[in-house]
Symmetry: C2
Subunit: 340 residues, 2 copies
């Protein structure tokens, strides 16, 4: 899922997203609550209508953002009170409020409001957050007003403590939710730890329900997670790189400001079907990025999203024809350092 | 002509431009010489290939930019020496060099290198600049190496002195060029003076050659100029307004940050065929602009270019069916203040 934090996948139109092969798009409860506010999105007829994206959508619960972005916050059993970085007012986010906002936003998949412990964190703190996340989940299920239209996913926390992860997964599965997520990763821990967590957790989630690894979307981490049974990812990297003038090409990251691209009149990636690669040269992209022309960020983001989705499309095809472990062997070998 | 200063019409893809109905795009010799340099554009196969625009293109000569943007400059009969605002090096631009650069850039129409006097300016200074522009034009014709592929247009100067304008027009016409431009307007003079200049100059340019009014593209000024016989315009307004969060709607300028748009779920302009108007609401555009999301600038620029080109398409249709003066009467009435 490309990330459309504020109901826009940065620099791209919905037409671009469809052309890139995007199936599902993520948006952020936390950000949309602050700006423009869920009542405006609801007034427009919901997120799909508001942002012109007719495909499936998912909203996260705001839990991760409250814990990672808010400076002033007070956590209690009730929920979290934090100061809006936008206008300074105090905002109270509880499991019930998060679901109420997500019901108003109207995405197809909504996420439980969780407590996301930082990394590193003591076992006792992570255990308490994991148990609270479970209690909050039950309140989310209770508060959900549109269960037939919106699938509510639970989130497995547990930090780097694999037994906590497994216990959390088992408790969640007993609630028979429409889908499950592995949360609390990509918070600063080394990739090897993400792999360990995923390998220890995913097998405890049901085969017949979507398993979503939150905040992960690099090649190696996706391949490793898919090998462990994960189905769904979100990642800001393709658009963030694009906005910083970098391209994802065949697993590498290229900085288009690099001198070697100034007079390189070849396509970014001849084998890529995207508009950028089919129309423009590296020299032109390099020129746009050097000149800080916004079209450069759009064209690179379009390519990067196409590239990353193309990678998952190849994985899907390989799985269906039983060639996954051979075709993606280079990404499954954990001894090779991750290149993107 | 939408303006693509640095070989990009800001925030828009060539696909967007084609969808907006653009027929011809302008780029800037001055800016492209500084960045990325004409040799790179030439290496890509010329401007069309470089920026992915297959329709007609025009480059201006750099004259206007040298006189309006360069701080440190020395003007002589030979040409202009100025300090590059980009890297501080001294650059020598002469009629010969301007044409050489434009030959390398490869646009379909290229412009003579002219001396553009400021407004206001004494008659003696304007007269000297106009005469020098004529001598420079002859050097441009002499220096032009691709006359069969690139049409060189001459530029009528003369400031606000109508007799100088008429004399300049007559001298230019004797050179039998493929097209003629009225330059040195939109330099700060009131719109009424532009109209006076155009009405005094255009009739002295041949009917069977394109007449191009440089740097003008607002509704009233275009209609007035078309009434006087002008065929071609360029204007940065639609994209500049878009980048500043403003929309051109039916002749008005709307600031999308205005509170009245926050919860306005209607289309920007239902009658407009552009992707923006057919897909998104004013509330969504207002949200994007408030959030400084670059998609907002793209969507407004796309609409504004479509709107302005649509306006000229309506004018063309009205001329062809002999309804121009009745259908555009409101814009021809000079007593009404200009609204865009």
């Amino acid at each position: 899922m490309p990330v459309g934090t504020l109901a826009t996948v940065k620099t791209l139109t919905p037409e671009h997203l469809a052309a890139a092969g995007a199936q599902m798009v993520l948006a952020n409860t936390y950000h949309l609550h602050l700006q423009p506010g869920e009542s405006i999105v609801q007034g427009a007829g919901g997120l799909h209508q508001f942002m012109g994206w007719q495909g499936p959508m998912l909203t996260d619960s705001g839990g991760f953002q409250v814990f990672s972005l808010s400076q002033l916050r007070t956590i209690s059993e009730e929920g979290v009170i934090f100061r809006s970085p936008r206008d300074g007012r105090m905002i109270n986010l509880t499991p019930e409020r998060s679901i109420e906002i997500q019901n108003a936003l109207g995405a197809d998949v909504i996420m439980a409001f969780d407590e996301c412990p930082p990394y590193p964190a003591e076992r006792a703190a992570v255990e308490a957050a994991t148990e609270r996340t479970y209690r909050w989940l039950k309140r989310c299920v209770e508060a959900h007003r549109r269960p037939k239209e919106q699938a509510l996913f639970g989130i497995v926390q547990g930090g780097v403590y694999l037994d906590l992860r497994q216990a959390a997964a088992k408790s969640l599965v007993e609630l028979d939710l429409p889908g499950y997520a592995i949360g609390g990763v990509s918070v600063g821990e080394p990739p090897e730890l993400i792999h360990e967590i995923v390998r220890a957790t995913a097998p405890h989630l049901p085969l017949n329900k979507p398993r979503y690894l939150m905040g992960v979307g690099t090649y190696r981490e996706m391949v490793q997670a898919i090998a462990a049974g994960v189905d769904l990812f979100d990642c800001v990297i393709p658009t963030r790189l694009g906005r910083h003038g970098a391209a994802l090409v065949q697993g590498e990251r290229w900085n288009l400001k690099n001198a070697r691209f100034r007079e390189d009149f070849t396509s970014l990636d001849e084998s890529c079907p995207c508009y950028t690669c089919q129309t423009f040269s590296r020299a032109y992209l390099s020129h746009l990025i050097r000149a800080r022309e916004s079209l450069g960020y759009t064209l690179l983001s379009l390519h990067n999203v196409t590239e990353l989705i193309g990678f998952t499309q190849k994985i899907r095809a390989a799985i269906l024809s039983d060639r996954f472990t051979t075709e993606f062997a280079q990404w499954l070998d954990v001894s090779v350092p991750s290149s993107s």
